[in-house]
Amino acid sequence: MPKTLLFEIIALIASLAVAIISLALYLGEYYKRTKEKNAKSGFQTIDATEAKSLNVLYRAIKKAQAIIGNAELAGIKIGAENRLAEKKLEGTFESQLNVARTDLEKEMSSQMNKTYSEYIKFLETLKEQNNQIQAINQEAIKQRANSIFDKFEQNLGTFLTSTEQKSVASIELELRSARQLIETYKTEQIAIIDENIISILERTLALVLAKKIPLKDQVDLVYEALSKAKVEKFIA
């Protein structure tokens, strides 16, 4: 409102100024034409007319000045009224603003309380959901742990069974090879014993026969060997 009033005042002053200026210009043009006219008709009329026109101009200017002064006064008045209105408006605005602020504060407070309660509700819901999820997770972990233990038990059982089987197999193999070794050793020892028996027999016979067999028998053995060699055609 005050702004519009101000614009109106300024427009009024501007229009007045334009009017004055146009009037001045008109007068000037009129004077000029008159001067020209007078120049054609004669110089005497020019001075009276000039004085008249100057008087008119002076009066116009004075009126214009008065108008301007009135306009200025009006403008000042309007300005003051404007300022007053502005102040009034400011006061109204301020009070309305305060009211609005108060209302807004109230509204905000209520909204905040509402939001807060909703937030609390939301948190509680989250908490509940969290608890549920936690419970579900614990259950899942428990089940997983149980299944892992079950699998572990199963695998351990399988492993122990296979280890036992392998151990038994390797022990049996060891036993078998040990038995075989014993058998081999036994066979070798028996062979050694047999060899020893034969060598003892040979030594005994060598000692005994050398003393007991007469020369004749010994020579007979040589003849027997030679006869065999002859039969076999060993000596060609």
């Binding site: 040979e202 060598a206 050398a210 010994q218 020579v219 040589v222 000596i235």
Partner: protein, 166 residues
């Protein structure tokens, strides 16, 4: 070659080593007779250090020896040695030494079976226990008691085990 001398040497030499020694001893004896002077000859009562060889040399018919002259001695004995060397002997492995008579008997039997020029060699091998082993032309055959024990080893051991069981 003087066949008489060769046959003479072989007549009672059944062992090749013995025949070679006899040939060498005879050669030395004859050479001694040719080259050693009479004084030295008198001092030397024996032809060799071996009484048996001396006995043998003295038993040889002097008529046979007279055929050997300084001109033919080396050639004669060279031929004899070659002949003896060429004979492949039968090697007898005996567990003990035989007396000369038994050796002669065996030699005679072998010559009766295989010819007059047959010779043998005797090697003592006590491990044979009794009997003998023969080797002829690089082939060895064992006819000894030891070989018989080896051949019948299993039966002997079986008998022994039986004996031990009871």
């Amino acid at each position: 070659m003087d066949t008489n001398l060769f046959e003479l040497i072989l007549s009672d030499s059944y062992i090749k080593n013995q025949a070679e020694k006899r040939i060498l001893a005879l050669k030395n004896y004859i050479l001694g007779g040719i080259f050693i002077d009479s004084k030295e000859k008198k001092l030397k009562e024996a032809a060799t250090d071996n009484p048996k060889l001396d006995l043998w040399i003295n038993s040889i018919d002097k008529k046979v020896l007279s055929k050997i002259t300084p001109q033919n001695i080396y050639s004669t004995f060279e031929v004899l040695e070659k002949e003896i060397k060429a004979i492949e002997p039968l090697i007898l492995y005996l567990p003990y030494e035989l007396p000369d008579e038994e050796v002669a008997q065996i030699g005679t039997k072998l010559r009766a079976d295989y010819g007059k020029k047959f010779l043998m060699e005797i090697t003592i091998d006590p491990s044979l226990i009794a009997g003998c082993a023969l080797s002829f032309r690089g082939i060895y055959k064992d006819y000894s008691v030891k070989q018989k024990i080896t051949d019948n080893k299993q039966e002997i051991l079986a008998a022994f085990r039986q004996y031990v069981k009871h």
